[in-house]
């Protein structure tokens, strides 16, 4: 079963009925690290962790879909997930005010929704 790792409360609210969610009340980088760790445990990436052109320090929210656990490690997923953590760590942290948080949630929801739509076609 796929797992949607997210720290976006809007994604939790909108997607919880259609996909299994692991919700983290944590910064964006923790989502990427959790995804990397899952990939090392045998889950494969279903979506790219750096979805969108919005830089990792320009949004607080991230949602990444991984597959259920396989018996083997997916090398491509390990490569991508690791590179994404390193890339995200290279951006300096920024502070945002409350007014833009919902907008950030909306964009992250849209990005992951486009992937869930592709995913639905695949099945």
């Amino acid at each position: 079963m796929d797992i949607l790792v997210t720290n976006n409360p809007l994604v939790l609210d909108r997607c919880k009925s259609c996909v299994h969610i692991e919700y983290l009340d944590a910064p964006l980088i923790d989502v990427l690290v959790r995804v990397r760790d899952l990939v090392h445990l045998g889950h494969a990436l279903r979506t790219h962790p750096l979805s969108g052109s919005i830089k990792p320090n320009e949004t607080l929210y991230k949602s990444v879909l991984v597959s259920g656990k396989h018996s083997h490690i997916d090398k491509q997923s390990v490569h991508i997930a690791g590179a994404c953590v390193l890339k995200a760590q290279s951006f300096p942290l920024r502070v945002f005010n409350e007014r833009v948080l919902y907008d950030m949630q909306i964009v992250d929801l849209s990005l992951i929704s486009s992937a869930l739509s592709s995913c639905a076609h695949e099945r």
């Binding site: 990436l45 279903r46 979506t47 790219h48 962790p49 750096l50 979805s51 969108g52 052109s53 919005i54 830089k55 990792p56 320009e58 949004t59 991508i80 590179a83 994404c84 390193l86 890339k87 290279s90 951006f91 300096p92 920024r94 502070v95 945002f96 005010n97 007014r99 833009v100 907008d103 950030m104 909306i106 964009v107 849209s110 990005l111 992951i112 929704s113 486009s114 992937a115 592709s118 995913c119 695949e122």
Partner: protein
């Protein structure tokens, strides 16, 4: 396909009663354009401003930039499948109001960008400081979702550009250029000894504020395909991509793609411009694998000797870029990629989120993390409310004198990945 493009040089835009082009000035009737825009039930208001090169004007947050063009002869019409019927474009005659641009502005989501300065340091980083800009600032109706607002603003900008382009239909162009894209067999017969070179253009296609439309089709729902580069000059590709100002392709960039321009200028001399391939950049990894497989398949079946691949955007498109590059190189096709870099403010970080030894020929549009301080300008079109929040901005980046310090990624077109920018290295 053969397209004759006539350029009508525009040196100024003025508001006037009668819309027309006269002596290099484009006269626009703001009231008529307002009525056109407000036909859309989602928009409550629009205001127009004119920004000229050298004026102390800052435009922000910029959504799209569009060049007014009109079809004079040949099938179809500008912006097919979106503003006009879906018939195939790219042949016959097209007139361009060269030097003029429509710039759309509006707050779609609170942290969006970019900036166009018409003078000062910022002007050196954006090509749109050199165009005379009609700026349309849209106000949505209350309660409109971000998706609805984005779609309405996108379409309104295209409608304005389409209406202005029509003013050039009966004009005699100042300059004319002919672009001929031969069929595969014709090209091979004419240039049997020249290397067969293709262009793969990657199009942003991920969701809200990250989309591109081809003949009206959302590119994320398309597989990799081919078209004639002359179709793109007639507005077959339009931008719905509002994020990452420095490396997004506005509609203007698509209409004036410099890779296509350069390939045409070398066609028949040093190379045979054989194929134009477009592919997407979806979030879903299986889509990336499928699309890059199709890119390589087409490149292989067309028996190309070389291919240029241009990227759009940051982060996960790096993976699409590397997948495309690895797979086209694996077919034995020499590959050059065009990207930009996020190498940190000191330029020492890894530039891309992905890499591969096969990506050994790369052209860069520059380091988007480079920091610049832009002086206070006298007039702002739009709002600076978001300059701290835009991509490349940061808290406290406006000083007491009104100067703003940003990474150049905040500036529209600064590190464009088609090479349509002004940065270079020596």
């Amino acid at each position: 396909m053969k397209l004759e493009v006539g350029y009508i040089q525009i040196r100024d835009i003025q508001f006037g009663e009668t819309p027309m082009v006269k002596d290099g000035t484009l006269y626009v009737n703001a009231g008529e354009l307002e009525a056109l825009v407000l036909e859309d039930e989602y928009l409550a208001a629009v205001s127009f401003d004119i920004a000229r090169p050298g004026e102390s004007v800052r435009i922000s947050p910029v959504k799209d930039v569009i060049e007014p063009r009109a079809k004079v002869e040949g099938s179809g019409d500008i912006f097919p499948g979106v503003i006009s019927k879906v018939d195939t474009v790219g042949s016959g005659k097209t007139h361009v109001l060269r030097g003029a641009a429509v710039v759309t502005v509006g707050k779609i989501v609170g942290f969006q960008e970019g900036i166009i300065d018409m003078t000062g340091l910022g002007a050196q980083y954006t090509p749109f400081s050199k165009t005379v800009n009609l700026v349309a600032n849209f106000t949505p109706k209350d309660g409109l979702s971000a998706h609805e607002y984005e779609a309405a603003a996108r379409k309104a900008g295209l409608k304005i550009a389409y209406a202005l382009g029509k003013l050039g239909v009966d004009m005699r162009p100042d300059d004319t250029k002919v672009y001929e894209f031969e069929s595969l067999v014709e090209g091979l017969k004419k240039y049997p000894d020249l290397p067969r070179v293709g262009y793969v253009q990657m199009l942003q296609s991920q969701g809200l504020l990250h989309d591109t439309y081809v003949y009206g089709v959302d590119m994320k729902q398309s597989i990799t395909t081919m078209l004639s580069p002359t179709e793109i000059m007639d507005g077959a590709i339009i931008s719905g991509n509002c994020v990452s100002a420095c490396d997004k392709n506005t509609t203007y960039h698509h209409q004036n793609n410099p890779v296509i321009e350069d390939l045409f200028s070398e066609h028949g001399k040093t190379l045979n411009f054989t194929a134009m391939i477009i592919t997407n950049e979806n979030v879903y990894l299986a889509d990336k694998i499928r699309s890059s497989d199709w890119t390589a398949k087409l490149v292989d079946q067309l028996d190309l000797d070389g291919v240029i691949i241009s990227q759009e955007g940051f982060g996960n498109p790096d993976t699409d870029l590397i997948m495309n590059c690895k797979k086209t190189e694996a077919t034995g096709t020499k590959t050059v990629i065009i990207t930009n870099e996020y190498a940190g403010r000191d330029g020492t970080s890894q530039s891309l989120a992905d890499a591969d030894p096969s990506a050994d020929a790369l052209v860069t549009g520059g380091n988007s993390n480079q920091v610049v301080t832009l002086p206070k300008l006298d007039k702002v079109i739009g709002t600076l409310e978001y300059t701290e929040k835009i991509a490349g901005g940061f808290a406290g980046n406006t000083d007491a004198q009104g100067s703003i310090t940003v990474e150049i990624q905040a500036i529209t077109g600064a590190t464009n990945e088609l090479g349509f920018n002004l940065l270079s290295a020596r």
